[in-house]
Subunit: 676 residues, 2 copies
């Protein structure tokens, strides 16, 4: 059975390789474009190199700590296995980020070049660039886990024991993803806010103007935050979810045998194939709406994934109820996408509320946006609750012990079977955004701008939608990780009425709030350093504004890099130290309380951050299309305030919370031996 995921992921990697070759063949554009490409590439490389060094040191230190702790309690072998798996997971997660960045930097400029002549070509390059990330990451995670599983089998381990030995892999992946998402998120928004505050507001020059010294840092930010950060994030998600589901599968070993354990990997493998077909289908004619093409591909992927799901479920678990549970998950993922759409698109009431509130000023814009964010938690929670309860009941109907929990795991697998496609759509966003910046900076034709504007607007929508999907799947996956943790910790209950568990829950909720505070403030601190530098450059060289001299882009990139890396340390470490301290002091049950309450709070707060941020952004864009006086009006100024507030919400705090929620799960799983 293990052969299926291995073959599927190798096939998928070949397909990704084919896409890379195809992209590399596309035209690199004008010399000016290539120059900008080179600057972005250098900036992104420099950031990732330094970031990976910082994260690498922390990962090695933590691996040593991990090993020592196990060794001290006499578990040498387990300690060695866990810390090696940890390092392997950390390495793969870091590599995923690198791949995501590598391909997006190379796609951006080619999309910009293609936009000079053909909309259809530009769209295809952007989507394929995203697809390389999406497919490689999901395939690598699948191959990594299948590979480890295979190695342990060769060494004669009991297949039932193997999933527990893989948790270190998940923890390593989560840890790196947390820092990658945090550091990248701080970088991208600090550069964005810094460039806008001086450029747009003080100097009155447009966005992406080459006279702005921070403009390259801003473009680098999209690549390191949205591509590299999100890549690492999704790698750890898929890894954590697979391992969690396998551990739950162990509980059902008496009924399904090895099939219950390998089911998640096989389903994932077919999901990859479905994604490849979907990507090949997603093509647009010259005058199509970009979203139409993307949606076509998405629905093809969903349909194929559902069909594959049916055959795999019937073949391996031989119970149609589990197939229904998978459908519940798949359906929930579609609902998440629609809910996000409702809350963040200008067509609907929430964004219109914010637009209207912008008329009466900055404060009412902020209040309205924040109210929208708080409100949308209702739809999110109802969807999660319905999916959990429905799949659980379906599982109970199978009559198997642990059937209910296993069915929620199957639902999560259903939801995630389209992950690679969703990730491709997600990476489509920053690629088109960057392409737009390159077109703007290189002074290309109006036609090219119109094409990249159209793509960029579609990209903004897909970015928002995939955040809704990521958050929903994080909630389901977290429940899966809890269940796995109970299995591992041999817990029977998590009694919130015990004072230690309640206090741990309080601390978990606090961790989410406090972490968000640090993440949001980090953007402000890093941005203020960039503002100083940009102001200094404008002041010292009056030629910049006339466009007669070139600004020192590299210095801005360098300052942003240092500031972002410095600011990511404290929140990142807290997210690791607090749960370990609680687990060691108050033991496994309290740790579960922390994890579960933090998950609930984290999912809701991330929803608030993502959706209010997205809604503010689109309210501003709607006004910019000429409503309420358009650009420059008082309403527009208020809307810009909302958009700026939303930036660290939706691109730093929100995405980092996704990872935090899952990190708590993998951390607890990997360190469970310390907590019992």
């Amino acid at each position: 059975m293990l052969i299926i995921p291995v073959v599927c992921s190798i096939l998928a990697l070949f397909f990704a390789g084919y896409l890379v070759v195809w992209i590399k063949k596309c035209d690199l554009g004008t010399p000016r474009m290539q120059e900008i490409f080179q600057a972005i590439k250098n900036g992104a490389d420099a950031f990732l190199k330094r970031q990976n060094k910082t994260i690498g040191i922390m990962a090695v230190v933590l691996a040593v700590v991990l090993f020592s702790v196990y060794a001290l309690s006499g578990k040498w072998v387990l300690g060695m296995q866990t810390s090696l798996a940890f390092l392997f997971g950390a390495f793969c997660s870091g590599l995923s980020g690198l791949i995501g960045m590598w391909i997006s930097v190379r796609s951006n400029v080619r999309v910009a070049s293609a936009a000079q002549s053909s909309f259809s070509k530009a769209l295809t390059i952007a989507l394929r660039g995203g697809a390389v990330s999406g497919i490689t990451i999901v395939a690598m995670s699948l191959l990594g886990i299948s590979g480890l599983y295979f190695i342990y089998t060769v060494f004669g381990y009991d297949p039932v024991r193997i999933p527990s030995l893989l948790v270190g892999f998940g923890f390593g992946a989560s840890l790196v993803a947390l820092f990658a998402q945090l550091g990248g998120g701080i970088y991208t928004k600090a550069a964005d806010v810094g460039a806008d505050l001086v450029g747009k507001i003080e100097k009155n020059i447009p966005e992406d103007d080459p006279r702005n010294p921070a403009v390259i840092a801003d473009l680098v930010g999209d690549n390191v935050g949205d591509c590299a950060g999100r890549g690492a994030d999704l790698f750890e998600s898929t890894a954590a979810e697979n391992i969690g589901a396998m551990i739950i599968g162990v509980a059902l070993f008496p009924y399904f045998g090895i099939n219950g354990i390998l089911f998640p990997l096989v389903v994932r493998g077919f999901g990859l194939i479905a994604t490849i077909v979907g990507l090949l289908v997603a093509k647009a004619k010259e005058d199509d709406e970009p979203l139409k093409a993307l949606n076509k591909g998405y629905f093809v992927t969903c349909a194929l994934a559902a069909i594959a799901f049916y055959f795999v479920t019937m073949g391996m678990l031989n119970n149609v109820l589990f197939f229904y549970a998978g459908l519940v998950g798949l359906a929930a993922s579609v609902v998440f996408v629609f809910v996000t759409q409702y809350y963040t698109e200008h067509k609907y009431r929430p964004v219109q509320d914010i637009v209207k509130a912008s008329e009466t000023g900055h404060a009412t814009n902020i209040i309205a946006g924040f109210a929208v964010g708080l409100e949308c938690t209702a739809a999110t929670v109802v969807t999660i609750a319905a999916a959990l309860l429905a799949s659980f009941k379906l599982g109970l109907m199978t009559g198997l012990p642990s059937g209910g929990i296993y069915a929620t795991a199957v639902a999560t697998m259903g939801m995630l079977s389209t992950a690679a496609y969703v990730l491709a759509m997600d990476t489509f966003g920053p690629i088109t955004d960057n392409a737009g910046g390159i077109v703007e900076m290189s002074g290309s034709s109006e036609k090219a701008r119109a094409i990249t504007d159209k793509l960029d607007s579609a990209g903004n929508t897909t970015k928002a939608l995939t955040k809704g999907y990521a958050m929903g799947s994080a909630a389901l996956a977290a429940f899966l990780l809890f269940s796995a943790y109970f299995e591992e910790a041999k817990l029977v209950v998590v009694d919130l009425a015990r004072v230690e568990v309640f206090v741990a829950g309080l601390i978990g909720a606090m961790l989410v709030f406090f972490f968000s505070s640090l993440a949001i403030r980090a953007v402000g601190k890093a941005a203020s350093k960039i503002v100083e530098e940009v102001r200094r450059q404008f002041k010292e060289d009056p030629g910049l504004m006339q466009g007669t001299s070139t600004p020192d882009y590299a210095r801005c990139v360098d300052i942003t890099t240092k500031a972002a890396l410095q600011q990511m340390i404290l929140p990142g470490l807290l997210a690791v130290i607090i749960p370990i301290a609680v687990g060691v002091l108050f033991k496994a049950e309290a740790e579960a309380g922390l994890m579960m309450v933090a998950t609930i709070v984290g999912v809701l707060l991330a929803t608030v951050f993502n959706n209010s941020g997205g809604a503010w952004d689109n309210a501003k864009k709607y006004i910019e299309t000429g409503h309420l006086g358009g650009k420059g009006s008082e309403a527009h100024k208020a809307a810009v305030t909302g958009d700026t507030v939303g930036d660290p919400f939706k691109d730093t705090a929100g995405p980092s919370l996704h990872v935090l929620v899952k990190l708590l799960g993998t951390l607890s799983l990997a360190l469970v031996a310390l907590f019992v």
Copy 2:
């Protein structure tokens, strides 16, 4: 033993009566002041009359529903008892609000009058006005519960069963408090925002200018929101806490007998006496700082309460460990006050961060303020966690079964023994605020303005501090209510790992977010109606701006009243319907999950709202004292945005969440029969 709380509360009521007579003797001021007083009084009366009618109808309907539900399951007598106690609690809570408003309206104008000649006299009137509310409310709650207890004893009920029969009283009080706080909170901020948006921003006239048609509505708002709303809120807090502690006392009946049950009431009685002494001590010389006098009284109250606590604990429970637990609670309340001070006073880093961020614009001001709010949850949670764990451990050391939980109840009692004094300081705030408004509107001397400004600034600080206290005590009290609920529902565990319980927890967290969204949005909706009306009046009568004609204040008051009452219905009903639905569908254990997770989230989110609101407010005030260019500068405009965003946070959503958290506890207690 019951005689002690009864005598103490009757004594306290006499003392409050004496204060009323004393205040009524003070001078009512110039004819212009009396005119304004009359307008405020009429507006406040009209609002409360309509509000009480609306709430009264809902309470009666709910009482009938309550009774029918019990009757349908054959429990006629219990149904009758619960619904009568419910109505009695609702009535007392409504009455508390009325008393708070009645005395504050009458004190405001006398403070304004006294400010013309003497700072010391003005301060004394303001504090005594606040004291009437504080003492009456705590005494009434004590007398109500003692009275009900006495009646049941006379009818020969088993003393062990009586506490369970009182829960209806607590539920009634909570329900009315929720609507009172919501309605009042929406009113006060809608009027404030509405008056400012047109007056300050569009017409450029100062705050509290008599030419602004919404100015009376704004002054009425302080009375109905901060005085009436908070009065009902604190009535239900004390009632709920007393009943909860008594129920836990029942579990210890085999060891302490009736003493364990009556202990909370007796401690409360002595706390009242300590408060009276503290109030008499709190006097200021002509050139003192107002806070110095208030703090002196507070520390005397704390010291006396601690001494009384020692003797009551030793006399009734005969175990010094419980005394230590009480001290833990008392100490925690002092810590809460200092934490709030750190996060909201301009002397410290957090407010200075916001001030600095105002330099770079509206958005950075908002981001900085929001980050401060999120950050301060850390100190709050650490304090709550330490107090809970320390008192629990002390209780375990007694060796009694349930000793740990009982000790947390004793700690709550310790924290709340100074409640009446804190409430007096709280009501001091709106009284001085209103007095300042009256002085401004009546065109009094510079000296009078200087005095009311000084008092108002102290009042702002006390308002912020008491919110910190209220939130901390809500957290401890909620834990007490859970424990009582477990006793009543005969629950052994609240297993968050069960899918229904986890889903209920998700729903509980969502309820807090969604409720906040509705409360915040309600302010915006109501404010927009006032803005329309004020604009209309200015447009239709150009004489208003010249000051030659009088605006139609009453119409603004009327519109605000209607809008606020209309907007309070939906969030209020949701807060009742959702927990009942979850309890009925998923049963008692899930209900506990909802309640506990909602409490954790509610406490943290309220802390964010209160402290970021307070910090924004004080950042603005700091700039207004001449920093960063003072009034009218760009930094000031940004700070005004923050302050306006903070208004519905700290005066509508935050305080309403306090009540919501406790409502969930009393509701579950009162309806537990439906959930098992």
